[in-house]
Symmetry: C2
Subunit: 200 residues, 2 copies
């Protein structure tokens, strides 16, 4: 057993809870912080407190925001007729960075994974259906979920319900990512890229 | 450019300063924290503040401690005649965990690496020499530094000075670590293990 002064071991325990961080990495972080100016530690502690106090969930799209409603939901320039369903709040900024989407968003908060307890009641599927019933402007739903087993399951689950209701549903195209070599592409991706080939 | 609410991007910036943490990992940490109960964030912020306020450097061995002097330096049971010189404060707890050392310590605060600005004035070589001159009880100095280029340079530098002063100086044994296979051992380590072989 390695023993450290209590303030050190307490922070090691707190950092160890972060994803992918074990006690050794956490200890490395703490010893790094101990060598920094005290103002840096205060800045980090303050940032944590502010995060805790100031971050809310948007009441429209459920993304993290500083106010009751996020800048995208209050932006009257955005297209109200398309709704992009994403897994997590961070996916919104990734899609926004492409500059190719001008519609609104809805954060599901996860993908279906019953073994891990992610059932349709836990993620925001009900909220999505309610939103679609209340807002008649919406003509298309983009299910921008990752093409993993759980993402695909969720796409299948939601698209089935929406198609019964005559709603236009789309998903992100599958194909070769920029910079990929055909040699290392998997069969499913390459097959999708072939069948969705584009005329030049 | 991906944009996030300011409290999020501030904490991402703070976490990005940690060793081995880039903006993507930092963002992953922040989004993980956002999903945790607010009490966990408060605990982490508090641990950071307490670390900042309560951790001092021991005035004898320069390790991190809550008081002016560390528990090892005030322990009268410890052997005053051996001094173990380590690179960092954390190395003390690693050596203590072996249970095979009962002497005192001195934290150098680094190894000699002039390119990175680690000259003999920056690390605590002067403090080591002063301690050895003031405390006549010390009969042996163990240079427990890592067998890297910089560790070896530091060992050479200090041992030369100490040998001129008729001080017994030792270093950690080099050899095969437990669990190693001879197949993958490097020549230097295997050579050391051969020349320092032990009779069974």
């Amino acid at each position: 057993m390695r023993r450290f002064p209590e303030p050190i071991s307490n922070l090691v325990a707190a950092f160890s809870a972060l994803p992918g961080v074990g006690p050794k990495t956490a200890l490395r972080y703490v010893y790094y912080l101990l060598k920094q100016p005290k103002s840096d530690l205060h800045t980090m502690a303050n940032s944590l407190r502010i995060l805790c106090e100031k971050i809310n969930t948007c009441d429209q799209c459920y993304t993290y925001t500083e106010d009751d409603r996020c800048p995208i939901c209050i932006d009257s320039q955005r297209n109200d007729s398309i709704l992009c369903v994403v897994e997590e709040s961070r996916d919104i900024s990734t899609i926004e960075a492409t500059g190719k989407y001008t519609g609104k968003y809805l954060v599901l908060g996860g993908t279906l994974n019953p073994i891990e307890g992610m059932t349709p009641d836990v993620i925001r599927i009900k909220e999505l259906y309610n939103k679609l019933e209340q807002e008649n402007d919406i003509t298309e739903v983009i299910l921008a979920l990752s093409p993993t087993v759980y993402g695909e399951t969720t796409i299948l689950y939601i698209s089935k319900y929406l198609k019964d209701r005559q709603m236009k549903v789309s998903r992100l195209a599958r194909g070769l990512p920029v910079g990929a070599t055909i040699e290392f592409a998997d069969e499913v991706t390459l097959g999708d890229a072939l069948s969705s080939r584009k005329q030049i």
